[in-house]
């Protein structure tokens, strides 16, 4: 991935992160992109330094009897990149609403 150019999928993912969707599956829900696109894109963004990942607190996970989840957040470079991408893909902001509630599920 070039330093100065972002694919549309990557831009959408950055926008989703900015909107507060931090987990891979949440990003899939909001963007509609398949997991086979979202995860490799996240890895590449992380390699490029636009995104960093953290594990959630152990205690939270233990309560729900599952392993801790990994969440992603934008770095400063990522924010700059997103701003640039917004100017290129003008519909980007309108494409998603900021996160308010729990993620939608297919049952909803």
């Amino acid at each position: 991935m070039g330093k100065s150019f972002l694919s549309f999928a990557a831009a959408v993912i950055l926008q989703a992160l900015d909107n507060g969707y931090q987990y891979g599956f949440d990003i899939m829900d909001i963007t509609g992109l398949p997991s086979g696109t979202v995860y490799p894109a996240l890895r590449r963004l992380e390699d490029a330094g636009y995104v960093r990942s953290k594990w959630e607190k152990h205690s939270i996970a233990q309560e729900e009897a599952r392993p801790p989840r990994k969440y992603y957040e934008l770095t400063r470079e990522g924010r700059e990149m997103l701003a640039e991408a917004r100017s290129r893909y003008r519909m980007l902001e309108q494409a998603q609403e900021p996160k308010t509630d729990k993620p939608k599920t297919s049952r909803a």
């Binding site: 599956f25 398949p34 997991s35 696109t37 995860y39 233990q62 392993p67 297919s106 049952r107």
Partner: protein
């Protein structure tokens, strides 16, 4: 980090099972984190959707779909694992190779030679056998060969039969015909004799070949005999002769004295369907004279054509062949005189139907076999060196193993090193092969009688070389690596030599034996071919090639008719004969030992005629002028020579050679006997007036070929070779003769002007190339084998230092020590030579047609080469043995 799994078994939740499975390909250091991330997401989603057991199928499927995406994620991470370890291995490998520059240099050089030879030969195989023709669906295209049972087949047929096959068959989408023609192209005041091809109107569309410029020949261009003076140029011709002139289409060219209009240029890379003859011009078939003549399959008939067809979709070779043979049977019934017993055999196009393929196959098989042998030899040597190195590195490896490296990991490290060596070697090899191909390019056409051939180093060659070097690397590395990583650590760590040493040396001994036998086989082949060449020089060709020159010219090219042509020939002979110092001069249609066009005809002996044309035995013929025998210094054994009285209006006469006379009139006197070339019914009886000595006609290897000389005055031909005998300077003579011919017709271009001694070199070219190549490879092999023996014996001396020290201390003399060591080596060499001799005895018969009558088991060669090898091997043993005698017993006994 991982928490205990949920109570429900993993397999009831296929998405989680899938994640574990896919995780296998994720690099180990990332795997735990990766699995956790995916598992956590999936399980979180589960809880979010309440209980798994209550989930409806849609949601289950959704989870499964999401976990499938993990595969792409894992795939992205996959290269990072191998990258890490490979870089480690490579860095280490490069460091190890740089630490021993001498070893690396020799190894790369050896491999480079071996792989280079393979690459060069493979590029030949690729060009003549593997590369598909640049036409649409080349696998559907076939060449038709015609013949009679038991007589061999030839890919030529009369034009009338061609039309029968074309119109009656059910199995071919189309059948096109083509006929070669040498034509004279006049361009900017220069006349050149180049190859043209007459093709039927369906030729280009059948092959699926379009035009790069203008258009190609279509069926409409091939209707009226002689009525379509148009021509398509080959791309190369357009580029080289016309400077890629963009205005070429529509231009008129003077070809063989007639105006032809250029209608187009064929695409780049399309040079017809035959590798052996690459036409520069294509004409409509109807422009070929004499098409309606000559029914029958025999070569040498008037205007025979080659055919090429495209199989219909779904029709197999066998089906097409039986269909065509049905037609052959019909034709045979309709024209029993010419076509009785005709059969059709399909073959791949490219190598003159079925005619040249066997020879090319054999040549390439031998060449490929030789270079593979050389590579094997090079490998054996390197394995030996690597084995020696592996025992030096025994301790290093033992430490690695002891520190917990897996055996596989160490193996991979060692293999990386050897593959690295092999890759370096193949880089050198490719460079060498490119050089070799450049050289061979100019030699090859002579060997195969090709007009032109482009050896192609395309992707197939690259893949072959890469595969070969990887294979070589694995072959090289595996044995030493397996040996080195054998897990008996303790003695190695304690720096003790172990029983392993014996096992190792046994392996090395076997390799030396193998090397000895391989190099013996190669050297024997080289020796035999050299002997064959020597023998060939002594073969009596039936004429005296010394102090004679030849010049050929083709009057067809300038459209001479018989009358003008005869006059031209008479004047040319007259002018040449009047040159100062000239002894004699004559004309012939086929100078002996000229490759290519045969001039073979079916013979009917009066009183003993075969029933059909196809049963008539075929003999070679040539038409000659007066004075031919005197010029060639061929002896007449019986009867008389042709005279000026044997002309077009006198009875037909011939002079036959001894073999002809013996074969057809074993007891009677051949003089006055009569035979015919056109069958008993047609008559045209020719009377034998003389018998000439036997000679070599089609090749030096043949024996007692029947041959017929006809007077040129009764058998006019336009394409002739002038032979002149003179003691004067041969170069000067050639120049003068060319000048004289030029004076007679300045548009005529003489070709093949050379001395008869140069002419004699041509049939020997294949053997000479083979001898050079085999000799070079054989010498290389001998050198490699000698190094191998030397290495093994040095090692043996080192290993037995203590033993030798004790022997010397106990009073053994140098002579005895030398006998001990040399004896050990001699045993290895002896076994190797034995195996090699058996191998050679089986293998050398493949060379039979390069040997010119030397036995494939020629004792002189076998004894001489074996002695050479033994002497070299002895020297290689003797040097370490002498070192052994210098062992100081005091030091030896203290040795570890």
């Amino acid at each position: 980090m991982q928490t205990s799994p949920n109570n429900s078994p993993r397999f009831s939740r296929p998405h989680l099972a899938l994640i574990r499975l896919i995780g296998v390909i994720v690099p180990q250091r990332l795997r735990a984190d990766w699995r956790q991330e995916w598992e956590a997401e999936l399980r979180f989603r589960e809880t979010l959707l309440a209980n798994w057991d209550k989930l409806d199928r849609r949601n289950k499927l959704d989870l499964l779909r999401r976990s499938l995406g993990a595969f792409w994620d894992a795939l992205l991470l996959q290269p990072r694992r191998t990258e890490d370890e490979m870089f480690q291995d490579l860095r280490y490998g490069v460091r190890m190779l740089m630490k021993k520059p001498g070893f690396t240099f020799i190894a790369v050089l050896t491999l480079g030679l071996g792989i280079g030879a393979n690459t060069a030969i493979f590029s030949l195989v690729n060009t003549v056998l593997l590369r598909p023709l640049p036409i649409a669906q080349p696998e559907q295209v076939v060449t038709l060969n015609f013949g009679a049972p038991g007589q061999g087949v030839f890919p030529l047929i009369g034009y009338p039969e061609y039309t029968d096959y074309r119109d009656r068959n059910q199995s071919l989408e189309g059948l096109a015909a083509m006929g070669m023609a040498q034509v004279g192209l006049s361009n900017n005041g220069v006349n050149e004799r180049i190859l043209g091809l007459h093709v039927t109107g369906n030729y280009f569309s059948l092959l699926g070949v379009g035009a790069a410029l203008g258009r190609v020949i279509t069926p409409e261009d091939d209707v009226t005999p002689g009525g379509h003076p148009i021509v398509v140029l080959s791309y190369q011709c357009w580029q080289q002769r016309f400077g890629a002139d963009p205005q070429i289409v529509g231009r008129d060219l003077l070809i063989s004295g007639r105006k032809f209009t250029v209608i187009g240029v064929a695409p780049k890379g399309f040079n017809g369907t035959e590798l052996a003859s690459t036409p520069e011009l294509w004409f409509p078939m109807m422009m070929k004279p004499g098409l309606e003549l000559g029914r029958g399959p025999i070569k040498g008939r008037t205007a025979p054509v080659g055919t090429i067809g495209r199989l219909k979709e779904g029709v197999s070779w066998a089906q097409a062949e039986s269909d065509l043979n049905l037609i052959a049977a019909q034709i045979a019934r309709e024209y029993p005189q010419a076509d009785k017993g005709q059969i059709v055999v399909l073959s791949q196009p490219g190598l003159f139907g079925a005619a040249m393929r066997p020879m090319v196959l054999r040549f390439t098989a031998v060449a490929m076999g030789v270079v593979v042998l050389v590579l094997l030899l090079a490998c054996t040597n390197l394995v030996n060196m690597l084995l020696a190195r592996a025992s030096e590195r025994h301790k290093e490896i033992a430490i690695r193993l002891a520190l917990g490296a897996g055996r596989m990991r160490v193996l991979r490290q060692l293999l990386t090193e050897s593959v690295l060596l092999a890759l370096l070697g193949s880089a050198l090899g490719l460079a060498l092969a490119y050089g070799a191909v450049e050289i061979v390019k100019f030699k090859l056409p002579v060997i195969f009688g090709f007009t032109q051939i482009e050896l192609q180093m395309d992707w197939r060659v690259w893949v072959f070389t890469l595969a070969l070097s990887l294979l070589t690397g694995a072959l090289l590395g595996l044995l030493p690596a397996l040996q080195a990583t054998r897990p008996d650590l303790l003695p190695a760590l304690k720096n003790e030599s172990t029983l392993g040493g014996y096992r190792r040396s046994r392996l090395r001994n076997m390799l030396v034996v193998a090397q000895m036998s391989l190099s013996l086989v190669l050297l024997l082949c080289a020796g035999l071919v050299l002997r064959g060449l020597q023998r060939a020089q002594q073969i009596d060709p039936g004429f005296n090639p010394k102090q004679a020159v030849e010049v050929s010219f083709d009057l067809d090219v300038q459209k001479y008719n018989r009358e003008r042509g005869s006059e031209f020939q008479r004047q040319a002979l007259e002018r040449v004969r009047s040159l100062p110092g000239l002894q004699s001069a004559a004309l012939t249609t086929h100078a002996p030992l000229t490759s290519g066009e045969g001039g073979g005809k079916g013979v009917f002996i009066q009183g003993n005629e075969p029933k059909t044309a196809t049963q008539a035995p075929i003999v070679l013929t040539t038409s000659i002028s007066i004075d031919y025998f005197r010029t060639m210094e061929t002896r007449l054994l019986q009867g008389r020579d042709f005279t000026a009285q044997d002309n077009a209006s006198s009875p037909l006469v011939a002079i036959v050679n001894e073999a002809f006379a013996r074969r057809f009139w074993p007891v009677e006197n051949p003089i006055g006997k009569r035979f015919s070339f056109s069958g008993a019914a047609a008559g045209n009886w020719i009377e034998v007036i003389g018998v000439a000595q036997n000679g070599k006609y089609s090749s030096l290897a043949t024996k007692n070929e029947p041959f017929v000389y006809l007077p040129l005055a009764q058998n006019y031909a336009n394409k002739l070779t002038l032979i002149a005998r003179s003691a004067a300077d041969q170069r000067l003579l050639l120049a003068t003769i060319r000048k004289e011919i030029h004076k007679l017709d300045e548009n005529l271009t003489p070709y093949d002007a050379r001395t008869m001694l140069e002419h004699m070199e041509l049939p020997l070219a294949p053997a000479r190339v083979a001898a050079t190549a085999l000799g070079a490879f054989g010498a290389l092999a001998l050198l490699l084998a000698a190094i191998g023996v030397f290495g093994v014996m040095s090692n043996a001396v080192t290993q037995r230092t203590r033993e030798i020290g004790i022997r010397i201390a106990l009073g053994a003399e140098s002579k005895e020590i030398i006998r001990l060591i040399v004896g050990q080596g001699a045993l290895l060499v002896g076994i190797g030579v034995g195996i090699g001799l058996v191998g050679a005895a089986l293998g050398t018969r493949l060379l039979a047609n390069l040997l010119f009558g030397v036995s494939a088991l020629d004792p002189l060669t076998f004894v001489g080469v074996t002695a050479l090898l033994a002497a070299t091997a002895f020297l290689a043993c003797y040097l370490p043995a002498r070192r052994a005698t210098k062992v100081d017993p005091m030091i030896a006994l203290r040795h570890d």
